[in-house]
Each structure stands twice: as structure tokens, then as C-alpha cells.
């Protein structure tokens, strides 16, 4: 069953594109990572899911219900956390939580909020105006989870949390997921996606580039070799680097070669020539997706 389904979802802000023709579905029980650089359209998409903004065209469905009209009751099934959490400064954390609980028809005692507060070492009796960003984020987590939602929509959820709290938060998300909660979260931090997600999508400049299962992405087993040869200039042809990677790049004296598997063979070939500098690292998720995308595009062209 699809918990989230987007069909050609498009949002324009005047002449600017928020997102364009996004097609995506998230199944029940997924932990779905929505990845992209700043300004890619992640928050725009999330705002449309939360009915904070409305699409210019296309449609979005949650739990099989289209969101072309406002559905406040559907929000009882959804927990959300925005990237920049703001609350009324004169209220205490407890008042915010009570207000949220009441909106869901609950009293605070009926919710797991005290357990979560202990877990995140959060003092809910202080006023919001005295909170650091980290504490506001903790309040956001408690506020988003107190009604035990079936779907969590999280926009950059860990920004502002210290590493220890991030760990606790991921642990909690995993536990919730084991209890059947579907999680859709946006981030630009690769490690978060690797730790948590079973499916990922990459968005750039408002366009969805790729949707994959995490196992596929991890299975790519790619490495990027950055090498500077003693002999100056572009040596891609002369040293046969294009045979290793047809998309090898040369910028400011450095050759960038992406290798999938067979790393030792590539290195044997490269070290035949005098080298000034060399480094090997995992590609960023963006690089991985871009390569995957480029490859798909060129496969499509050749067909």
C-alpha cells in the first residue's frame, strides 16, 4: 500500500521553479530518504505533503486520499518536524505539548511524551524563549511524535542536534519503524541515509533524478581516484584513463577517475606513470546519483 504518492507534482513560485513533475511513491513501512542539496526542492515537496503549500499542477495522495482540498483530520495520522522549528516564545515546552495533544484530542498523560522527554533529556517546564536550537529541535521531536502517528514527515530532522542526540533519535526512528511507522525524511547528510533508509530518492534543481533501493546504491561499490601526475596537462588519452572510466574528468591539474570494483587493476594502470599526489575516497551520494543518472541517460540515448 502506498502511504505517499506524488503524480507529476509541480510547484512554481512565480517564475521560479520549486519542483517539477515529481513522481514518487512511498510504501507502508518504508524509511525513505529524500536527498538533495540546498534549494533542490526538498522542503517545497514536504510543504505540499503537509498542505502548507498547494501544487501548481499534479497531485499528491496520502493514505490513498488526494490532497487537492484541505484534510485537517488526516494530520492526526501524520507527525512532522520542520528544519527550522519555531514555537511561541512566551509558552513553556509543556504548554506547547499540551496544546498539540489537545489538537489531537488527547491529554498529555495519554501520550508517550514523558518517556521521550526522559530519553532526550528534555526539560519541558522551561519557556521556549530560553531554548537553544537543539532544545527547540527536541521539543519539535516530542511534538511531532506525541500522537503516535502512522507517517512521519521530517525535514532535515537532525540539524541542531548533537551527535549523541542524533544517535538517540535514529534509534527511536528505527524502533518506530519496527512498529510499522512509515518515515519520509529529507536530508543532505549521506551518513544519515546510509544508517536508516531502505529507499532513497535524489532531487536536484526541482527535478527528481533517481529513486533507488538502498541496497542498489550501496551495491555500486564505487570509488573516486583523484590523481595528479608529475607530467603536467591532461593525460586521459595518453595514459589510457578513459579505458578505466569513460567519464573521467580533468580539472586544474587533477584527474578524477571513478572506478566500480576492480580497484587494484585501475591502480596498477595509474601507478605506471610518475605521480605527484593521489587519493581514493567514496563518492558522495550526489556523485553516485549523478553518475547513475548520467549512465541511464547515455544508455537511453544509445538505444
Amino acid at each position: 500500500m502506498n502511504v505517499i504518492k506524488m503524480n507529476n507534482l509541480t510547484k512554481y513560485y512565480g517564475k521560479n521553479t520549486g519542483v517539477e513533475n515529481v513522481n514518487l511513491s512511498v510504501s507502508k513501512g518504508d524509511i525513505f530518504g529524500f536527498i538533495g542539496p540546498n534549494g533542490a526542492g526538498k522542503s517545497t515537496t514536504i510543504r505540499m505533503l503537509l498542505q502548507l503549500t498547494y501544487p501548481t499542477s499534479g497531485s499528491v495522495e496520502l493514505f490513498g486520499l488526494p490532497l487537492h482540498k484541505e484534510r485537517p483530520s488526516l494530520r492526526r495520522k501524520i507527525g512532522s518536524l520542520s528544519s527550522e522549528v519555531h514555537y511561541y516564545k512566551e509558552m513553556t515546552g509543556k504548554q506547547i505539548l499540551q496544546f498539540t495533544a489537545k489538537s489531537h484530542g488527547l491529554s498529555l498523560q495519554e501520550t508517550p511524551v514523558y518517556e521521550y522527554a526522559e530519553r532526550f533529556q528534555f526539560d519541558m517546564n522551561k519557556k521556549v524563549k530560553s531554548f537553544s536550537l537543539g532544545n527547540r529541535k527536541k521539543l519539535g521531536i516530542l511534538q511531532g511524535l506525541l500522537h503516535e502517528p502512522e507517517l512521519l514527515i521530517l525535514d532535515e530532522p537532525t540539524s541542531g542536534l548533537d551527535p549523541l542526540m542524533q544517535q538517540s533519535f535514529f534509534q527511536l526512528l528505527n524502533e518506530l519503524n519496527h512498529h510499522g511507522v512509515t518515515i519520509f525524511f529529507s536530508t543532505h547528510v549521506l551518513s544519515e541515509v546510509e544508517k536508516l533508509c531502505n529507499r532513497v530518492a535524489f532531487i536536484k534543481s526541482g527535478k527528481l533524478l533517481e529513486t533507488s533501493h538502498m541496497t542498489e546504491v550501496k551495491g555500486m561499490n564505487e570509488r573516486v581516484i583523484e590523481v595528479t601526475f608529475t607530467e603536467p596537462g591532461d593525460k586521459r588519452k595518453k595514459f589510457g584513463l578513459a579505458d578505466i572510466d569513460p567519464y573521467a574528468a580533468f580539472t586544474q591539474g587533477v584527474h578524477y577517475i571513478t572506478v566500480r570494483g576492480r580497484l587494484h587493476e585501475a591502480l596498477q594502470r595509474i601507478v605506471q606513470y610518475p605521480i605527484t599526489d593521489i587519493s581514493i575516497h567514496k563518492p558522495t551520494l550526489e556523485q553516485l546519483f549523478m553518475q547513475h543518472y548520467d549512465q541511464k541517460e547515455s544508455d537511453g540515448d544509445s538505444r
Binding site: 513560485y13 502548507l52 503549500t53 484541505e70 485537517p72 512566551e90 489538537s103
Partner: protein, 264 residues
């Protein structure tokens, strides 16, 4: 806590300050009524004021023979001016304040519809405005009994009710503006601005016959308080016009807000 209580909590400081100022001025003017009413020289001097000032500030000597007349000229003018400013500011800031504080994402992701949020705010502001109206009326009557002589409490009530209707009309205009503004500061300025423009237009209309038409654009001109002092009842057409502006403004604001995007 529900949405109405939340709005009252958010406005409580402004309510205490605004209410305090209005009630203080009402008590001050109410207690000084007899000093002016019994001072023939002062009233003669007032008659020499420019027409614009007389019209704008309600120095109508012809009715300043009773506490009711004093109320219609002095207490009424300052009460409408001050409560109008506060009510219009609250209305102008209704929606835009959440955008400014960044609390809009939190508020609109709760299981309340946009219209529920909007009309809860309208209801809370109506409650606060009505509270100040009733307290002002009670203080005026109390001042009348304590420091002067009251002939008709009903007349005073109608005078204050007329002012209340004008204040509601200012709120109605504010509800249209709140969906169009981008910061709470601009909402404050717009709220005070619409009341001041209305007041000044009425004042300028009194300068000369040739510009008297300006008063048609002023809410201060809608009710004839002198007629109220003379025992006429509250004008139904004026009440309908002011309440009409309030209802139409509130409805238009709701319509504009219903599908407005929350953007950063």
C-alpha cells in the same frame, strides 16, 4: 488550551496595555467633564477653534451641555481612535504574526483547518475588543454618576455602541490586510495607518465645504453622535454599514487565507 485561548495568550500584553490606556483616558476625561461643561469661557474659546479641529476632535459646543454631550464629543473620539488602533493592529497581525515568528509551520500542521485557526483568532479578538468596549462603557457611566450628572444611561450606551461598531469595521479592513502583509511590523503600521487616515479624512472634511466629500471615506463620519445626544436612536443604516464592513472583511480575509501558501 485551545486556539481561542492561544490567541488571547498571544495578545494579553497588548490587551493590558491597550485596555489600560483606553480606560485611563476614559476615566480622566469622564472625571473632568463638569470642569469643562460649567466653564462658559472655555466653551466660548472652544467655539473659536477651526472647524476641522471641532469636527475631528468632536468639540461640538452645541451638545456640551450635558454629560452625554461631553461623552459624544470627547470620550467617544478618543475611545474610537485608541480602540480602533489596537483592534485594527490585532486584526492586521492575525495571520502575518505567525509568518513573522516562524510558527506558521507548527500551527498549520496541527489537525485544525485553516478556517478553524482563522475564525478562532477572529473570535478571540472580538472577545478582547468587546471586553474593552464594555469596560469603557461602565467606567464612563461610573464617572458620570461620580463626577457629573447622567440623564440617560441608554444614550451613553448607544454612543459607545456606535464607537464599537466603527472599531469592528476597522477590524474587518484589518482581516483583509493580514493575508497580504509580510511582517508583524508592517501589520502594526497598517493597523494604526487605516485608523489615522480615517480620522484625518473626517477632520479635513470639516475644513471647508469644498472638501466635505472627504468625510464619505471616513468611518468616523458614519454615526451622528450629536443626534444620539438629542435622543435619536442608533442609526440602523450606519450600524448595518459598519457591521457589513466587518463581516465582509472577515469573510474576504478567510477566503484569501484558505489556500494561501506558507512560504519562507
Amino acid at each position: 488550551m485551545n486556539l481561542i485561548k492561544l490567541e488571547i495568550l498571544l495578545l494579553r500584553r497588548s490587551f493590558i496595555i491597550g485596555g489600560g490606556i483606553i480606560l485611563f483616558f476614559t476615566a480622566l476625561l469622564g472625571s473632568l467633564a463638569d470642569y469643562y461643561l460649567n466653564n462658559a469661557e472655555l466653551l466660548e474659546a472652544v467655539e473659536q477653534f477651526p472647524d476641522a479641529v471641532i469636527e475631528g476632535f468632536g468639540f461640538h459646543v452645541s451638545v456640551m451641555t450635558s454629560f452625554e454631550g461631553w461623552t459624544s464629543g470627547q470620550i467617544y473620539t478618543y475611545y474610537v481612535l485608541l480602540l480602533g488602533c489596537f483592534a485594527a493592529m490585532w486584526a492586521c497581525a492575525s495571520i502575518v504574526k505567525d509568518r513573522d515568528m516562524g510558527t506558521d509551520e507548527f500551527l498549520y500542521s496541527l489537525p485544525y483547518s485553516r478556517l478553524h485557526v482563522y475564525f478562532s483568532r477572529v473570535a478571540a479578538q472580538l472577545f478582547l475588543t468587546s471586553t474593552i468596549f464594555l469596560l469603557t462603557f461602565l467606567i464612563t457611566v461610573a464617572c458620570g454618576f461620580l463626577f457629573s450628572q447622567i440623564e440617560s444611561v441608554r444614550t451613553i450606551f448607544f454612543i459607545m455602541l456606535a464607537g464599537y461598531f466603527i472599531v469592528l469595521a476597522f477590524s474587518g479592513i484589518g482581516y483583509i490586510l493580514t493575508t497580504l502583509l509580510h511582517s508583524e511590523r508592517s501589520a502594526m503600521s497598517a493597523g494604526v495607518g487605516i485608523v489615522m487616515i480615517s480620522f484625518l479624512l473626517n477632520m479635513m472634511a470639516g475644513m471647508d465645504e469644498t472638501v466635505s466629500w472627504l468625510s464619505y471615506f471616513s468611518l468616523f463620519y458614519v454615526f451622528d453622535t450629536k443626534a444620539l445626544v438629542h435622543g435619536d436612536g442608533l442609526s440602523i443604516s450606519a450600524a448595518a454599514a459598519t457591521l457589513g464592513i466587518y463581516i465582509a472583511g472577515t469573510a474576504l480575509g478567510a477566503f484569501l487565507f484558505k489556500r494561501q501558501d506558507v512560504v519562507r
